[in-house]
């Protein structure tokens, strides 16, 4: 019975992943090397034209812009999330649970609705501008909405928990005795931070950064709503290719390129993780 059940679960998982992960990805890959056709979306013959078009300066620029927005988002999430995660991890169990719970609560509301709410906060007559005007810091409303700032603000807001959660788990595993020992041996705060805390929480840093960076390139609705559909992300280009321009092969090529970037980053994560696991000892000097 046990073996049968195990086999059943394995078969189910394999079929599920095959049907809903492998097959769609193969279809996307196949579409990316077909010829575009506005009538039939994608047709024979096979061609690498769409891949060539990825190199056009127009798209290269969007690509770098999107990469830049995502990198900035990740950096801000890390700066905010790192101390937050440290504090949360050091709190007694009840408080830690409560804070993490509060962090998750907004997720019960659809992120699209929360993005609309941000529009109200950043608008010319929104909360931020009302405060600025009332305090006399500015005479005219500052244009916040429909700028790259708004896009980054929205992305950081939506993605911050993805940075915090892996970090909290990393800090949870951090052995306090190591820090005490370092302290006793005369290491100052910065030395302890740089030589012990950062290396030991590196898996959390990398995992969190990946979980922020990758979605940040695809969240087209944030760019549409907060960026005024001008500060485009890679996700916007893909969406437009499929829905508006109907050049499916090109949209597919873009998707595959994005998946490729993710794969490379995950591979780097895997390498880093392995290195950290293999190292880890106190006498390790590779950091």
């Amino acid at each position: 019975m046990v073996i049968n059940f195990r086999r059943f679960v394995i078969v189910l998982t394999v079929v599920w992943l095959g049907l809903f992960v492998l097959v769609p990805h193969v279809l996307v890959l196949l579409t990316s090397v077909m010829s575009p056709d506005p009538q039939h979306l994608a047709v024979w013959p096979l061609t690498l034209n769409s891949w060539g078009r990825l190199l056009e300066p127009l798209y290269a620029e969007v690509f770098w812009h999107s990469l830049w927005l995502s990198t900035l988002t990740t950096a801000i999430c890390l700066l905010l999330g790192y101390p937050f995660a440290y504090i949360v991890a050091k709190l007694p169990g009840v408080w830690r649970g409560l804070l993490l719970f509060l962090m998750i609560v907004p997720f019960w509301t659809n992120s699209l609705i929360r993005t609309y709410a941000i529009k109200l906060i950043l608008g010319n007559k929104g909360l931020v501008n009302s405060l600025l005007l009332a305090s006399g810091l500015v005479d005219e409303p500052v244009q916040l909405l429909y700028t790259p700032f708004a896009v980054i603000f929205g992305l950081v807001y939506v993605l911050l928990p993805f940075m915090v959660l892996p970090l909290v788990s990393s800090f949870g595993k951090l052995d306090g005795t190591l820090l005490e020992a370092a302290h006793d041996l005369g290491a100052g705060f910065w030395q302890r931070f740089r030589l012990i805390i950062v290396p030991l929480t590196m898996p959390g840093i990398i995992a969190g950064s990946l979980m922020v960076f990758l979605p940040a390139m695809g969240m087209f609705y944030v760019a549409d709503l907060l960026g005024g559909a001008k500060n485009l992300l890679l996700g916007n280009i893909i969406k437009n290719q499929f829905l508006v321009v109907r050049d499916w092969p090109f949209g597919a090529a873009f998707s595959v390129a994005l998946i490729g970037i993710m794969a490379v980053l995950l591979w780097l994560y895997f390498l880093a993780n392995r290195r950290i696991n293999r190292a880890g000892g106190l006498d390790d000097e590779s950091f």
């Binding site: 979306l41 909405l145 429909y146």
Partner: protein, 344 residues
Amino acid sequence: MKKIPALLAAVLMAATTALHAEEKLVVYNWAEYIPESTLADFTKETGIKVEYSTYENNEVMYSKIKLQKGKGYDIVVPSSYLVSKMRQEGLLQKIDPAKLTNLKNLSPDLLDKPYDPGNEYSVPYLWGSTGIGVNAKEIDPATITSWADLWDEKWQGKLLLTDDVREVFHMALKKNGFSTNTTNPDEIKTAYEDLQKLMLNVLVFNADAPREPFLAGDVNLGMIWSGEVIMAQQENPDIQYIFPKEGAGFWVDSFAIPVGAEHVENAHKFIDYMLRPEVGQKVVEELGYSTPNMASKALLDEDTQNNPVIFPPADIVKASEFQQDVGDAMKVYDGYWEKLKTGK
């Protein structure tokens, strides 16, 4: 033993009546383009459950219908140029005029147009225009008379444009004296180069409800649909509408039945329901777009009938062009559109 088949039959009968009770209709319409209570009233009267979903522009709807080979929806509401395209590509099915008792209410002015001769595939629902919206509290409406005024340097980073390739190109084409339906690549290129200059002034492309940024105070000037102005004025009377002198963009959106629709009978019932005088009246009162339904128009109060935003004077309509399909030239438009959106 004989009883079992009888029992089965009874169960089957019950099941089929239950299925009949679950009569339904799948409607795919523009966002905010039908009063919610109208759908509820339709269900109450006919027992037909309406599954309702929305799209932001013609292109998205077309892609979906094309992809699903005309299946999945019973009613779509394409603009005129898309009716002709979808009709020619076999994505729509013929509408049976014998089933539409209220067809006679429609104004002949909007029937039998080149995009669908004889209205075999489409029944006009609403029409309206795309013009210039302005917040009179911030900007004197008298200073804005033409599309060309939007190009003024003083509006840098201030304008709202609709996220619609045909409408945005309409502005630049008209500004340069071309037809909004041009297929001449040189004319389209000239318009594109003009729009490149306009991009510096653009703050936001809006796809769902252009009135919202006006109401929120985030923009005071930009493109807007006539009905959106009427809706906005209920909250803020300062939002005003200007017919640009080069010509506003005029469009008609029509009911159509995709070729693979599963509930064709219900779709006809729905169209006929929407053509009723009092239903059309309510649609105009709530949405502020113009109705092609003369019987509905007659029911509206004087103010609404004489509101130039809803029912523009004949000379304005005559001087304007209705959108038509531009065929393969759409590719040219789309190419430039993408460049504009990505900042080129």
